[in-house]
Symmetry: C2
Subunit: 410 residues, 2 copies
């Protein structure tokens, strides 16, 4: 039988009882005859606790030392889970990033995996041991500990599955799969049995919090099937896999939203080359990520209005940078709105079906929701709307695209 | 200027405030121009918390995984102390056992250091960085994490000082040095300015809890001077160093005691070769350390009474093993006494002075303290007495050998 990589998130290993429960799940899979690598996160709350400790100590904690600090969370979990497995008679071996050789670049706190040495893992499997791997962490060529950023354990798991040629990467979490929309907002939300990598990528980056975007990129690149399942029920699950003709029948697979957005508009900037760079270079230098950007040329053809969105957290900082620039830009005014949200529809079927965007716009307009900005890609349409209408918008679109039913045509 | 190794124990880094305080102490030394390696323990209570977690999870936690677990305590401290140093403008780099190359054997939970690679430390010094080293931990040739046992950070510090050829190893703790006896028992206890390695070794193994025995062995072997000082006062300190003629003038340097002893006596065993092995092999196989052993041949010359001491913790287990053996041994009876304690005098001056032991015995007898067992070495005399007399015994001997005054002749 083949290799299976399992990943358990922080809430799945959040107490000694839960660790024992997970050990039993792993043991069951092991006894079926699989070679198993289990990737675990820190016990829920632990990473935040460590970050708080650093922030209470230092106004801006050193990033290298931050990674030395927070990587202890996963180290604790792998030790405990390995103990629990051994108590069940399952041979197990905890493995840290440096012990395996999970090589990353040296971008502390948001490192990227360069490659993974499989020799230690293969020795572990050969010895019939379960490899219990610390997620979220890696090691640089100079033996510095790195971490992969929030949700990085997903990426660890998928990357391991990729290099090992695993038959499946199982991501165990506190939800039982990926839904057509947030079930907390819309009671007609339906769990998707399958979803393509591209759709999952869009959904992850548009606000669905099931998987880290980077992990889906990895899975797509190496064609690793990812099964998202609940730790505590056997039912359900969503398989993220290669796109096939069956998936295209579904025009829209899911509705996502992101409330963590704010809008800034610069009115009447001169419409000449280099203006965009003048605005966005200082923002990027201040580590502010800009999401959507829209520019309209005004009637005189010489001036433009430029709008863009940033996260709500970065809003104040971005506003003050842009206001300082407005003189240089010859801008008439700078106006901001932190009360917006982004509503998106995602589906590979859009490629082959016309009228999807216009159906979205008309559905929103019918209930009086004004669209402030629009951004599209091959498989998604995003609209910026007033934050207070976001739940209504999700429900309206869910119904318009008949997502409560499977395999709907336009 | 030379290299200085400093070690701060758990109580010295037990809170963020204390870590900042320690960072300031290190910074001061650094600015004097020294190359500095700082070895730290886990924040006080953390190691115990981790051990409790493992014991709550598993009836007998796997030793390899135990070391993966408990070594996180020091990892947290080195990250935090490095952050605090950088905030003071002092370049610093945290270093784990595997990053330096602190090679140990694979005796998990009680590993011994084999050697230490100095190249990373020398690079750190060359870059004018303080090396902030995780105490207590090492790495095997198969890249498994090990720990050195209770108090192991002392050994880490002394071993580093040895391989680096440091001019001094400073051990910062919550007491300001080594005393002639426990100041909690005897208000005339006097702090020793200097003590020889051999005396410190005897005192450490006889119950004084200032330094781990193994660290003193290292210091003696590599001739590393150890200064034991209080973290929170600048005064005081005891230097453990090579013996010199000045030290010999002091006949007795200190009085120690150990209440964690229990006595077992086997009455009327046959006095023939192999009997001792028959008794002590099974005890050793059950991981019971035997301290003192005394055998008296009885009047008929064919039978002997054999007494030995074990820790109070091992007493019940040892009694049951010995009772099972008593048939085989043809012993008349086995009697035990868990209410004893060991009282010792230590001093290199004993080598050149007669009558030290007899003065000890007569002083104890004068106040009615009965001596149950005696054990001597070149520089110490130990007596087993009734536990309830131990404090009295310490005070009587402290006065008899005039330890409240320095440089006393017999």
């Amino acid at each position: 039988m083949g290799i299976i990589v399992q990943k358990y998130g922080g809430t799945s290993v959040g107490s000694l009882e839960k660790i024992k429960f997970v050990a039993n799940k792993v043991a069951k899979r092991y006894r079926e005859g699989h070679d198993i690598a289990v990737v675990v996160s820190a016990m829920s709350g632990e990473t935040d606790k460590l970050i708080r400790l650093a922030k209470d100590l230092s106004p801006s904690p050193d990033p290298r030392e931050m990674d030395v600090l927070v990587s202890t969370g996963e180290q604790v979990t792998i030790a405990l889970l390995s103990m629990a497995l051994k108590d069940l008679g399952v041979p197990a071996r905890s493995l840290l990033g440096f012990q395996i050789g999970i090589r990353t670049d040296d971008a502390f706190m948001k490192a990227r995996i360069i490659d993974i040495d499989t020799s230690v893992l293969r020795e572990t499997f050969a010895a019939k041991e379960v490899a219990v791997v610390a997620g979220f962490q890696g090691i640089t060529d100079t033996r510095d500990i790195t971490t992969l950023g929030r949700g990085g354990s997903d990426t660890s798991a998928v990357a391991l599955a990729a290099v090992l040629g695993a038959e499946l990467c199982e991501i165990y979490t506190d939800v039982d799969g990926v839904y057509t929309c947030d079930p907390n907002i819309c009671d007609k939300a339906r769990r998707l049995d399958r979803i393509s990598y591209d759709e999952m990528l869009e959904m992850a980056s548009l606000g669905a919090k099931v998987l880290q975007t980077r992990s889906v990129e990895f899975a797509k690149k190496y064609n690793v099937p990812i099964l998202v399942k609940s730790t505590f029920t056997d039912e359900g699950g969503t398989l993220t896999t290669q796109e096939d003709s069956e998936m295209e029948k579904e025009i829209v697979s899911g509705i996502t939203y992101d409330k963590n957005e704010a809008k800034i508009t610069i009115l009447g900037v001169q419409d000449k080359p280099g203006i965009a760079a003048m605005i966005f270079t200082p923002l990027s230098e201040s580590n502010i990520n800009v999401d959507m950007i829209i520019q309209n040329v005004s009637a005189d053809g010489k001036h433009a209005d430029l709008s863009f969105t940033v996260t709500k957290t970065d809003y104040e900082k971005a506003m003050s940078i842009v206001k300082q620039l407005s003189g240089e830009l010859g801008a008439r005014d700078v106006v901001g709105d932190p009360s917006i949200a982004k509503l998106s529809i995602v589906g590979v079927g859009m490629r082959s079906h016309a009228g999807v965007a216009s159906k979205m716009f008309s559905s929103l307009s019918r209930v009086g929701i004004n669209i402030q900005m629009i951004s599209t890609s091959e498989i998604k349409v995003s609209c910026v709307i007033d934050e207070k209408f976001i739940e209504l918008g999700v429900r309206v679109l869910h119904e318009a695209f008949e997502l409560e039913r499977s395999r709907t045509a336009l």
